[in-house]
């Protein structure tokens, strides 16, 4: 019998918070922040997708270097690497070690999509596009005619027919959250967003049946999994969202997702989110400044919605769904006062959590083009600093150090014991109201046999 070929699927190590010493110290010392950081830690989704697309007859080994070291002597016929920009430097080091042994290396993922020609200098083959559209060809070429240096996607993958990701590959490692993808893409095109560059032309969706089967599969493999829906924007198609949420209710999971604020006006979605176990939504507010939001996305959607941020945050949280606000600081209209204004907003509105990043000019984004033209990219900041928490360019109204320190000051004023106590009081009163209403409904149902509307 022919020997099974062996594929190593490797996610390189990276710092998923600022590399600068102040950020690292804060991360070590803030219990409140550690909890946020921990919840949003999951596996490399791209690799479990590649695993699902690899034909039988291959032995697969998933390695997350953030959890375990790579054994460079491990037997392997082929290595697949993925990574965001912050992982790129390490991705190249890993590729060099395997290639020195004569093991071919293929790279895909976000950074390979942003800078394919740079990545191509370090690996045997680069995949530009979605794995579903490319990986079967890569495997075919590897086993028959030899790898091509670059694979480019020509048509969008139809997500409604893709196989279920091979979640089982990541099952032996401990992940606080399990990432499940239901759609790809986002209707907004923010100037600094690298995540959606691959999908800008069109959104892609899995069917509701597919998603439910995947969640059930995850439930079979993990004990009470906390599911993180990794979609860039979970609520774009309202009808589909309603159907999906209704089908999640009986599964009894706890979950979080990411979106814009638009769903706050849909009471049915809000109720269904709470009933289906939605704990928090990470919402990209980006900024609380009119000047900064003006022109931040192609349709100026965020600028037009700024006046609704307060009402939206309150309405969503009053339905028992905590709002994790994502903010990007350091754009050209931001000044040193922007930090205080952001801290004030997140505290006055009792957001459940925050992610405050330094605006980062990722390759391929319009923001990068501007920064390069103006010669403002900091040359000493290698890709490993593209953590979104380190300043990698010269901001207009402050120094890079002031930007990092300012972003951290927002964290400090939010993630501390005193504010956590106030926030706890606030959320406890929300939950008391919700529980009271739930109990009243249950009692009415018990006495009349009819549910109250």
């Amino acid at each position: 019998m022919a020997r099974a070929r062996k594929l190593l699927l490797i996610s390189p190590q990276a710092t998923f918070f600022g590399r600068n010493p102040q950020h690292q110290r804060f991360k070590r010392e803030s219990r409140e922040f550690q909890f946020f950081d921990y919840t949003w830690t999951g596996f490399a989704t791209g690799l479990v997708i590649v695993g699902s697309l690899t034909p039988p007859g291959w032995d697969l080994h998933y390695i997350d270097e953030n959890i375990e070291p790579v054994d460079f002597d491990e037997d392997a016929d082929l290595v697949a690497l993925t990574g965001m920009t912050a992982q790129a430097d390490r991705m190249y080091e890993i590729a060099a070690q395997f290639r020195a042994r004569g093991v071919p290396v293929v790279a895909g993922g976000l950074h390979a999509n942003l800078l394919p020609f740079e990545v191509a200098r370090h690996v045997d083959s680069v995949c530009v596009g979605e794995a579903e559209a490319l990986w079967p060809q890569v495997i075919h070429d590897f086993t028959h005619d030899g790898l091509k240096p670059m694979y480019r996607q020509t048509t969008r993958a139809d997500l409604s027919v893709v196989p279920r990701p091979a979640y089982e590959l990541a099952q032996q490692r401990y992940y606080p959250s399990i990432w499940v993808e239901t759609s790809r893409g986002c209707p907004h095109s923010c100037r600094f967003c690298a995540a959606t560059i691959r999908y800008r032309d069109k959104l892609g969706y899995k069917t509701v049946d597919q998603v439910i089967r995947e969640v059930e599969y995850v439930q079979e493999r993990w004990d009470n999994p906390y599911v993180l829906f990794s979609d860039d924007n979970f609520v774009v198609d309202r009808n589909r969202t309603r159907e999906l949420l209704s089908r999640l209710v009986p599964l009894g999971i706890k979950w979080s997702g990411q979106s814009d604020v638009s769903f706050y006006k849909d009471p049915e979605i809000l109720d269904l989110m709470h009933e289906s176990g939605c704990m928090t939504m990470l919402i990209g507010f980006e900024s609380v400044s009119t000047e900064t939001l003006d022109g931040i996305d192609e349709r100026n959607w965020k600028f037009r919605n700024l006046s609704k941020y307060v009402e939206a945050a309150k309405t969503i949280q009053d339905h028992g769904v905590g709002v994790y606000g994502a903010f990007t600081l350091g754009l050209d209209t931001d000044t040193k006062d922007s930090f205080e204004a952001t801290a004030q907003f997140v505290k006055e509105n009792y957001l459940a959590g925050i992610q405050v990043s330094c605006c980062t000019p990722f390759p391929g984004t319009p923001l990068r083009d501007d920064m390069e033209r103006e010669n403002r990219i900091l040359p000493d900041k290698s890709w490993s600093y593209y953590t979104v928490f380190d300043a990698v360019y010269q901001p207009k109204h402050m120094t890079p150090e002031e930007l990092e320190e300012g972003a951290l000051s927002v964290y400090r004023s939010f993630y501390n014991r005193e504010f956590s106590l106030r926030k706890t009081r606030h959320f406890k009163s929300i939950y008391r109201n919700l529980v009271k209403k739930k109990v009243e409904r249950e009692q009415a149902l018990a006495t009349t046999g009819r549910s109250m509307v």
Partner: protein, 87 residues
């Protein structure tokens, strides 16, 4: 905490509510469990549990007390003191 704690209120109420909210079996809820270490319980889930326990036992736990709770046993002790003080 004695063995009889496991057969008495407020433990039984707390055990039932944690199991119901965290979608786990009541047997999995023991006094030694760290409150946020019970599968499926994080700090927001914990607040839903606290709100339900407060309403059922007709007590109010203040935030300082809540922050000092690290195990189910601590939670039971705080609720027992508050229910005793109420009667």
């Amino acid at each position: 905490m004695t063995d009889t704690t496991l057969l008495e209120e407020p433990f039984l109420t707390i055990q039932r509510i944690i199991a119901q909210v965290a979608k786990t079996s009541p047997q999995a809820v023991v006094l030694e469990n760290p409150v946020t270490g019970i599968t499926n319980v994080d700090s927001i889930v914990m607040l839903e549990i606290v709100a339900r326990v407060e309403l059922e036992l007709d007590i109010e736990i203040d935030e300082e007390q809540l922050f000092a709770i690290s195990t189910v046993g601590d939670f039971v002790a705080v609720c027992r003191d508050l229910t005793a003080a109420r009667t």
